[in-house]
Subunit: 388 residues, 2 copies
């Protein structure tokens, strides 16, 4: 019997689970996020949220992932990020092509139709950037070359994933790819990045040189910018978290950056972000595992191998060391948002069946859970090697 | 035509209004809260919240008022608070009796029944602690003797108000006061205060001596304590904000207090508390003013005079100066929670009519808006006098 909780009690229990998750992570020497996800899963089998509490909790969780990406944008070395633009694109492309082909071919072999196979392939394309970002932050690798590369590649493949998803879902629903809509999406996305990172930075620098603000007001302004950028990218059709990341990059180039980084990491790390990861864990639908067939197992393995091999080869081709290339590959393994949207829309539109949906869900859960410990281990290896 | 907004856009607009409210307040040299309330009222006539956004926004606002009271509990001088216990009770009692009698008699004169008059009187009893607390905090008067006295009296009259409300609503609904329920409420409330401020403080001190925590974890723990105390007082039947205040008093006696005060004032002042006051302004129902009769005007005047005279006399009797006594009286003028609950339940149960409800609403709005500038002025007078 699961206990139904209203907003304040639910919030209390989720924060307690987050705290317990931290202790667990410390105990087993793993990144904080793993404990939060696990405690979230445990919590999810004991409590359910009252209908009136669901909206508020998930909306607060969404602020959490926006603040995480903002914080990462604020922290990253922007000059390095620009230098690694081409490398990131190579890694992202390699990490898109291989999993897509793997997923497509596997679905065809298992007897699914061409269109289902396209969607299955696409579900393997986009990295869920939050999980690796959280591990990178905790291991203080964000300002290193591979940390920057991983973030660049993860953002790039997220955008590619959204574009592919839009194309194939419109193909599945209307029978044709809406090239006009798609071109608009691509043009607007490119425009957004270019304008934000040129004009945007200039404008924000000008403002920051003229105005000094109290710390509460600085935090308030920071959150306003995150939400505004998030709304813009969401309206364009790419996800709000990309907007939050770009907001971080832009504000990161002003002298507000240092103070704001501290404020956002406090409010994010002390409240919003743990709520995000615990609720992610709570949403992991373990019922999806009960009817798991061979296809799900194959999909999980291909999802993991596809990204690790694809991205590692990409990084290797750009002259990163073996260990660094492996770290990049592992960091790109988690999938979530794009895969879950494909599962949701696909099921609702009767394009894919419950078997495929359950395979996608299993893939999301397993890739989310195996990444933090593996990435943690590889990154620590790199950190120790640097010290010697 | 009001624009309907979903969660993230609504949050963005509310934070922008809060920012604009701060600028306005600075421009007219008034406390921040006044600008936030006014901008909230302006905003409320241009936008409405989409149904799915209402729960999340108001729940975030509730966290705001909890964090404000927590922050005040953390800041207040506990030894002074204990010393002023008797004085606070005298001020609270004087400020309860006079407005209650005023409201009761006025309602009788205007031809309302005995039971309606009891409820009208009760609606004038309880101070809305948030508004004066915010002004006290901003004018840095919280740790002075009158700041401490005001907080003590406001908390006391809130508890008295809740007890009276429970008694008279049960009288109105069931025809008799449920003395058993009422005694339970009183016993539990007293027990809660005593246990929290003795055993609670000891336990938290022990814990704080043994465990040091990172700043994100400290904030997380602080919020957990606030929510837990809030749930306890809400379950007892007094409001959650009283629990949050006591949580602040308790944690304030540990060595976590200094860091936590900074963290909570940042996260509260930079996000949650402005959202609370802007949404309070948005909820001010200006339609209530359209049909305002003589009764509403009389009620507003009695609400203001009753508290100022009652509390000032109480403070004066306890040997505070004229100006200080006036500050205490003005600080106790705002009414909200208890009055609004009486209006709501009274209307739903057909005990009071729309005319009385609208009079109560007008009283809430006007007392909320006149307090910040008046209190601000008197407090500054006291501050300047001290300097010379």
């Amino acid at each position: 019997m699961a206990l139904e909780l209203t907003f304040i009690p639910a919030l209390l229990v989720i924060l307690l689970a987050a705290g317990a998750g931290r202790l667990l992570s410390r105990g087993i020497k793993q990144p904080v996020i793993l404990g939060e996800l696990i405690l979230g899963m445990v919590l999810g089998s004991f409590i359910i949220l009252a209908p009136a509490a669901q909206g508020p909790i998930f909306d607060i969780a969404e602020i959490g992932i926006l603040l995480l990406l903002f914080s990462i944008g604020l922290t990253i070395d922007f000059e390095e990020f620009k230098k690694l633009e081409v490398t990131s694109s190579v890694v992202a492309a390699a990490g898109v092509i291989l999993p897509f082909v793997f997923g497509y071919v596997a679905a065809i072999i298992f007897g699914f139709s061409h269109i289902v196979a396209l969607l299955v392939g696409t579900s393997l394309v986009a990295t869920s950037v939050g999980i690796s970002a959280s591990v990178l932050m905790e291991s203080r690798m964000l300002r290193t070359k591979i940390g920057t590369l991983i973030m660049g590649a993860a953002v790039a493949d997220d955008v590619i994933g959204v574009i592919m998803m839009s194309a194939f879902i419109s193909l599945a629903v209307t029978g044709a790819i809406q090239f006009l809509d798609l071109s608009l999406l691509i043009v607007l996305a490119v425009l957004f990045f270019i304008l934000s990172l040129t004009v945007g930075i200039k404008v924000f620098r000008k403002i920051s040189e003229k105005i000094t603000v109290a710390r509460e007001s600085l935090l308030l302004i920071g959150i306003v910018v995150v939400l505004a950028f998030g709304i813009i990218t969401q309206e364009i059709g790419i996800s709000a978290i990309i907007g939050a990341f770009v907001a971080g990059l832009v504000v990161g180039q002003t002298h507000y950056a240092r103070d704001l980084r501290g404020h956002v990491s406090l409010i994010g790390g002390g409240f919003f972000i743990p709520i995000f990861f615990v609720t992610v864990g709570m949403n992991f639908n373990l019922n999806a595992f009960t009817g798991v067939g061979l296809f799900a197992a194959v999909l999980v393995i291909l999802a993991i191998i596809g990204k690790i091999v694809g991205c590692s080869l990409g990084a290797k081709a750009c002259r990163f060391s073996n260990r660094e290339s492996l770290a990049v590959g592992i960091a790109m393994v988690p999938r979530a948002e794009v895969a879950l949207i494909i599962a949701q829309i696909g099921l609702r539109q009767n394009i894919i069946g419950p078997d495929v949906v359950s395979a996608i869900l299993v893939m999301v859960v397993i890739t989310a859970l195996i990444t933090p410990p593996s990435l943690w281990k590889v990154l620590r290896g790199i950190g120790e090697k640097k010290k010697t």
